[in-house]
């Protein structure tokens, strides 16, 4: 082991949303006189408005900082982690690149859902955890109670916890010094063959896919021939470097270092997060543990509102995928919506991010179908098919049984909402697992809930029923057999494929009725009466009617102003164009989204 490595600390900061992760990172960089991370944010990720607006930390590139402590220079590599449940796997790989983690606890809010999720993830990766209590400047701060929670709930010694205000820059040095004092340094072997972990990747239009790596053993430099374990592909390294926070090319990355590597890799999907890099010849034979090929959990159809924009949508998805290997898409055709894509996402937030980026960055008008999950359909001949699009469900006669994904949900709430949360979870077919009083003000409730209930309106319902006080996190717990049925919606007697859903049979009636009611409101009156029917198999379970339109005329044309009249008709025609033709019925785009809307 080298003295060099004794002067390196690789760490990350974990926190619940809004507990001050980015601000603390900024202050640490101020104190170590590194370029502000905010500039970096602007520079690298200007377009990711959505995450910023939602207060969800953007995935930042790691940054290498220098700090002189007791007369010696230390190199601190801060690796950022995305702050949302959808990206748990990516978080876990970032953590795996570190030896320690700073855990931020908000002095007034205490421990929240993601605080604990992150603690468990950090512990799973054998990280040393350094708790800090932030926002002590707030009048509502109760640092002693937060300390108590850290000891009681997490079981960490809180006697030396730094009490900081990242916003006011209070006690930041103490945090840095504890990082040096308390977090372990890397202990790799520089002379062993290369073993490096890819914890992230970014796409650069000049350099191609860039791997962000943590070198565990060995060394790598330009010219090194490397191999990726997951894909088996080999490359010649063209450049290595570090982030300060701009990319700075250096000669060599060695055991313990964090940096980047370019090797003319065309596609981010060839540099998979969690994969291990070794030498193309004479490399190691066993990769680092923990690699997973990430599978999407939530699916939805994305269609251009204007069918002619199919090519634009395809280009946009291609571009997004360059930077986001977890976005999957494949072409799909809907009778109602025409040509589009079935897209797979890590979770609901990921789905929303992609949808919003398509609309904002690519200026596309899109129609999204109700989110679905991947069902296991076991057919009578014993074979299993995965169904992500309700339309592709095999005929009932060929189905032996079906399985649906279940999540383990962790909910954190003030005690007064326990009743309402349990009611909500029961309503969502949840199975109660556990309930713990963390202290007098907060309760942790654990449920197993089918994912298809979560993707419907769980977040919104939870927020509205607890006035935003409850927080929520989940992990996939596996598949379970379930009585599922396909709910079809018929407009004027014809099934509209884009509105079909797979639901639990006990939910079919209520969902069918609510969808029919909502459609009645959004489908405009047309020249004939339109029956809206919800059906399961051949059985109609709900019916509404859109009455026939009776009046659609223009005012008198004063003084022969025909052009104005024509323009109004053209506007009407444009409006029609934006509608989708389902059989004889014109259906406005928003109708396809209405069924996503949350029931009061």
């Amino acid at each position: 082991m080298s003295v060099r490595q004794e002067h390196i600390r690789n760490f990350c900061i974990v926190a619940h949303i809004d507990h001050g992760k980015s601000t603390l990172a900024d202050r640490i960089m101020d104190v170590t006189e590194t370029v502000s991370k905010r500039d970096q944010k602007q520079q690298l990720l200007d377009s990711m408005d959505i995450e910023r607006e939602r207060g969800i930390t953007i995935k930042l590139t790691p940054v290498k900082m220098k700090y002189n402590y007791k007369g010696e220079d230390y190199y601190l590599n801060l690796i950022d982690t995305p702050g949302h449940v959808d990206f748990t796997y990516e978080v876990s790989r970032s953590l795996a690149a570190c030896e320690g983690a700073i855990l931020i606890v908000d002095a007034s809010q205490g421990i929240e859902a993601q605080t604990l999720t992150n603690v468990y993830l950090a512990l799973d990766n054998d990280l040393e955890i350094l708790p800090v209590i932030n926002k002590i400047d707030l009048p509502s701060a109760r640092p002693e109670e937060a300390k108590q929670e850290i000891e009681d709930v997490i079981g960490l010694d809180a006697s030396e916890v730094p009490l900081v205000s990242a916003k006011e820059g209070i006690n930041i040095e103490q945090v840095i010094e504890q990082v040096i004092e308390k977090l372990p340094h890397p202990t790799g072997d520089e002379d062993k063959p290369l073993k490096a972990l890819i914890f992230d990747s970014v796409y650069d239009s000049y350099k191609g896919a860039i791997s962000l790596i943590r070198v565990v053993d060995g060394r790598v430099k330009a010219g090194t021939k490397i191999k990726m374990f997951a894909t088996g592909k080999t490359y010649e390294v063209t450049e290595v470097g570090i982030f300060n926070p701009k990319m700075i090319e250096i000669d060599e990355l060695m055991a313990g270092d964090v940096g980047y590597l370019c090797a003319s890799i065309k596609n981010v999907s060839d540099t998979k997060v969690g994969d291990t890099i070794t030498l193309a010849t004479g490399g190691i034979t066993e990769p680092l543990p923990g690699y997973k090929n990430v599978m999407p959990m939530v699916y939805s159809g994305i269609y251009p509102a204007d069918g002619a924009k199919y090519g634009d949508l395809k280009d946009a998805l291609e571009k997004l995928q360059l930077n986001d290997a977890s976005l999957l898409y494949e072409p799909e055709v809907s009778v109602a919506l025409g040509f589009g894509f079935r897209c797979g996402f890590l979770g609901l937030l990921h789905m929303e991010i992609i949808q919003e980026r398509l609309e904002r960055e690519f200026d596309l008008d899109i129609i999204t179908t109700a989110p679905s999950v991947s069902y296991h359909v076991i057919k009578t001949d014993g074979s299993m098919v995965e169904v992500e699009n309700p339309t592709n469900l095999p005929p009932q006669s060929e189905i032996d049984f079906m399985e649906e994904p279940i999540v383990r949900a962790f909910l954190y709430t003030p005690p007064e909402y326990v009743g309402t949360i349990m009611e909500l979870c029961q309503d969502k077919r949840g199975v109660h697992i556990d309930m713990t009083y963390l202290d007098t003000t907060r309760v942790r409730i654990e449920y197993e809930i089918p994912l298809n209930e979560i993707v419907y309106d769980f977040f919104d319902s939870l927020k509205s029923r607890t006035k935003g006080y409850a927080s929520f996190d989940y992990e996939i717990a596996g598949y379970r057999q379930s009585s599922l049925v396909k709910l079809d919606i018929m407009l004027n007697g014809e099934i509209c494929d884009a509105l079909s859903l797979i639901v639990h049979k006990d939910k079919a009636y209520a969902r069918g009725r609510s969808i029919a009611e909502k459609l009645k409101e959004v489908i405009p009156r047309q020249m004939f009466e339109i029956p809206i029917q919800a059906s399961v198999g051949s059985k109609v379970i709900a019916r509404e009617t859109v009455k026939a339109m009776r009046k659609d005329v223009l005012a008198k044309c004063y003084g022969g102003d025909i052009t104005r009249k024509k323009k109004l008709l053209e506007k009407q025609k444009e409006g029609k164009k934006r509608m989708r033709q389902v059989g004889t019925v014109q259906v406005p785009s928003e109708a396809f989204m209405t069924i996503l809307k949350f029931d009061k």
């Binding site: 020249m527 009776r550 009046k551 008198k556 004063y558 022969g560 025909i562 052009t563 009407q572």
Partner: protein
């Protein structure tokens, strides 16, 4: 020589109605004088050598607001600049601006048709849309007009605030016995920027629903047709207005005055709606030049407003068999809403009040 319709716009009113978004306003006599001057200048500058004028329509605004001399100046100007062979000469006005004296004067000037904006014969309804006349004044006015022996058209509205079926029924039963030769029945179109729009928008005034409005229209239609005033266009009943039929059959027309529209050759023009610019003599602005295909589409769009629909042999004369084939393809999906014979294609009577939805598919 070609036939031409002439439209003259008089943008003055004693008071602006709450639903009106046309170019009209209150103004003083000096401004009226300058306007007439500019108007006559515009008329004189038009090269009318290839045309015979067969219809004149003086609309507004309130043309009857003008005093007799001003009115005569306009007529004289038209007479000196155009060759006239009039089949129809219409003047529009409001119930309380028609007088016996004015009516006789119009008659002496060759006017054949007088149109009056009655809108409703219920005082609360009239008040609700900001009309300045009462039901009684309208009835008295109708008597004067009918006595003149000219063709009288009465503008009525449905779908108004405070209006209901029984009010509509009373209104139209009165109208059909009044001796008018034609009735226009419009449903209120709420236009942004009007006081009524704001009142409805803020919830201060409520309008009848779509269904109620159509019931009112249907009631009016029944009463009118039973009295022998057959519908010939979505909103028009009784003796057809040749001037308007000109608009609906792509006939050439020239509009003089503020914001007036023209269609000459294959080009649509309009005048500025900025009074100052108009008085300064701003030229007509070209709106669009219609291609043969545009003409074909507009012809269908306009003819289908009429109960008689598209006359197939006229259509083939104008646009050829190919054009006709195109039209048949365009209506193919909507066939069930049309009456198609070997002579004409018309929107079925029960769907004519939804004609926009059908016509939008043709343009």
């Amino acid at each position: 020589m070609k036939n031409l319709s002439v439209y003259i716009h008089i943008p003055f009113c004693k008071s602006k109605c709450a639903y009106c978004d046309f170019v009209s306003f209150k103004c003083n006599q000096d401004m009226v004088k300058s306007y007439i001057k500019a108007l006559c200048k515009e008329i004189e500058s038009f090269d009318a050598s290839e045309y015979i004028v067969d219809s004149i329509f003086i609309g507004g605004g309130t043309p009857t607001y003008l005093d007799l001399q001003d009115f005569k100046n306009i007529i004289d100007c038209i007479k000196s600049n155009f060759t006239l062979d009039l089949c129809e000469f219409t003047v529009e006005g409001n119930p309380n601006s028609y007088t016996k004296e004015k009516v006789e004067f119009y008659k002496s000037q060759g006017v054949t048709r007088l149109s009056v904006g009655v809108q409703s014969l219920n005082d609360s309804v009239l008040k609700g849309i900001g009309r300045i006349h009462t039901a009684r004044q309208a009835q008295d006015c109708l008597k004067i007009l009918v006595e003149s022996g000219l063709d009288i058209n009465c503008d009525m509205m449905v779908g108004l605030p405070y209006q209901d079926l029984s009010i509509v029924k009373e209104d139209f039963e009165y109208i059909v016995t009044s001796g008018v030769s034609s009735v226009s029945c419009y449903s209120l179109i709420l236009e942004e920027g009007t006081p009524l729009f704001d009142a409805v928008d803020s919830g201060k005034v409520s309008l009848p629903t779509q269904d109620q409005t159509v019931d009112m229209y249907d009631t009016a239609k029944d009463i009118l047709e039973k009295a022998g005033l057959q519908r010939y266009e979505i909103s028009n009943f009784g003796k057809p207005c040749l001037h308007n039929i000109g608009y609906w059959s792509l006939k050439e027309y020239i509009g003089f005055g503020l914001s007036a529209h023209s269609f000459i050759g294959n080009t649509r023009f309009y005048n500025t709606s900025d009074l100052k610019k108009y008085l300064d003599g701003q030229d007509k602005i070209t709106e669009e030049v219609l291609s043969a295909e545009d003409m074909r589409k507009e012809y269908a769009m306009l003819s289908l407003r009429m109960d008689s629909g598209i006359n197939i042999s006229d259509y083939i004369d104008k646009f050829g068999v190919d054009g006709y084939q195109k039209l048949l393809n365009e209506i193919d999906n909507d066939k069930r809403f049309y009456d198609i014979s070997d002579k004409a294609i018309a929107i079925k009577s029960e769907f004519i009040y939804m004609s926009n939805s059908l016509i939008a598919n043709l343009i």
